[in-house]
């Protein structure tokens, strides 16, 4: 069969294909190809899920903040899921929250320019939020209290950081989670400063917790009753010293690979931390030394 007449295809096929393109590709290319693709590109259903990241190519060419606003406008209030990598600002976050009452998942990665107040203000506009994922992004403990008050459906919270100081211990975040996020089912606190005090409070305050990721939260010392309680209560538990394959945003891993030249032997070298038995204590100190030397 000869190549099909693409512009005459049913719009649902064009929609299925364009759905697989990222926001930047749709706005810069697909919608300009032909009127059918443009109509499909402008449908609010195309913008229920937006994922935009600042890459070397897109960041230099395009004003991503402006593009993101445009994408949010196109969703016409139907946006349910947004992921922004590294370019979100206070203004943009507020803009999104004021226009997206249906938002159920907000994921910010490497967004250092967001102030705690802006995050708090935005969360007040998101009553249907179920998942809040903050990875290496600026954060204020007030945001947790806001979630408790304004986002009653929250069931998944990630507060991950790959910048950590093993000397410093702080339970403020953990205690705030325990006090305000009682409906949590999934919690990731990768590289958190909390201690056993914080962990105990979380176990008490979040009775529905099914998965808990404590990797690199090395002030937690899981022994005795606390360890038993964790293993009993949590179906999917990742322990502080379960150093595993690289986390998607874990830049330190790349540095480590360059220095130690182990990238080809990743599978042999790293324990796969899918279960508590995969703990690899021998390896972890070496890892820390390399990062902090």
């Amino acid at each position: 069969m000869a190549s099909p007449p693409w512009e005459k295809l049913p719009p649902e096929i064009a929609a299925a294909i364009l759905h697989k393109l990222g926001a930047v590709e749709i706005l810069t290319t697909a919608q300009k190809v032909c009127p059918t693709w443009r109509r499909v590109s402008l449908e609010p259903s195309m913008w229920r899920c937006i994922k935009m990241e600042h890459s070397r190519a897109t960041g230099r060419l395009y004003d991503l903040k402006k593009m993101c606003r445009h994408a949010v406008d196109l969703s016409r209030g139907q946006l349910t899921d947004i992921t922004i990598h590294s370019f979100c600002t206070n203004d943009l976050l507020l803009y999104i929250s004021q226009r997206s009452i249906q938002l159920s998942r907000l994921c910010l990665q490497d967004c250092h320019d967001i102030g705690g107040d802006a995050l708090t203000a935005a969360l007040k506009n998101l009553p249907l939020l179920e998942e809040l994922h903050l990875q290496n992004s600026s954060f204020d403990v007030k945001a947790i209290e806001t979630v408790g008050r304004y986002c009653p459906l929250l069931k998944s919270f990630k507060l991950n950081s790959d910048v950590f100081d093993p000397e410093e211990a702080c339970d403020l975040e953990a205690l705030a989670i325990a006090e305000n996020m009682h409906g949590l089912r999934h919690l990731e606190l990768y590289g958190n400063k909390m201690t056993n005090v914080g962990l105990k409070a979380i176990l008490e305050g979040c009775p529905n917790l099914e998965s808990l990721d404590l990797r690199r939260s090395i002030n937690v010392d899981l022994v005795g009753d606390l360890e038993r309680l964790c293993l009993q209560r949590i179906k999917d538990l990742k322990l502080p010293h379960n150093y595993t394959r690289r986390y998607p945003w874990d830049t330190h891993y790349d540095m480590f690979c360059i220095w130690a030249d182990v990238s080809d032997s990743e599978d042999d070298f790293f324990a796969d931390g899918d279960s508590a038995s995969d703990c690899d204590d021998d390896y972890f100190p070496l890892n820390v030394l390399l990062f902090y030397d």
Partner: protein, 163 residues
């Protein structure tokens, strides 16, 4: 005629260029279109599939058999789909997406759409038009409106608008 219970049932599918294919019903009903025909009792004889040619149908049946042999393990199914599509050229992908849509096979549709979208990544508008054989049938007014909206490019950056 309703399918008999107990014994594996085989269906006969006919492509639009009159090729006949035998396929296990359990695999064929991955297609919602075919499943509906079976449930409506229309599958006793030959099932004509007017929108799919023999070459494409053979390929779809290979997929049906392969994927239905994998137990409920989404990882394995995904890796089968990836492998199945890895050697398909663009024209074949185009035929597959039409067939998947007609046969109402959402998983195949999803995978082929993603593969076609991959082809478009980081390409210019002109390149996509040529590759997809799409005429630039914008009216001048529409074309102007599209360009007018294109204001998020940083100043001084050359874009590959069209060619």
């Amino acid at each position: 005629m309703a399918a008999e219970t107990g014994t594996p049932t085989t269906l006969t599918l006919k492509s639009n260029d009159d090729e006949l294919f035998s396929v296990a019903e359990s695999a064929a009903i991955l297609s919602v279109t075919i499943r509906n025909m079976v449930e409506d009792g229309c599958a006793g004889g030959v099932i004509p599939l007017d929108n799919v040619d023999g070459k494409t149908l053979a390929s779809v049946i290979t997929y049906m058999n392969g994927i239905s042999a994998i137990p409920a393990d989404e990882e394995k199914k995904k890796s089968y789909r990836d492998k199945f599509l890895s050697d398909k050229d663009f024209e074949t992908l185009a035929d597959m997406v039409l067939a998947a849509n007609y046969l109402n096979m959402s998983c195949l549709m999803d995978a082929v759409s993603a593969k076609i979208a991959q082809v478009m990544e980081k390409k210019s508008v002109g390149w996509v038009r040529r590759k997809f054989g799409i005429e630039n049938d914008y009216t001048p007014e529409e074309e102007a409106a599209v360009k007018e909206e294109h204001k998020w490019t940083f100043e001084g950056v050359e874009t590959d608008d069209d060619n």
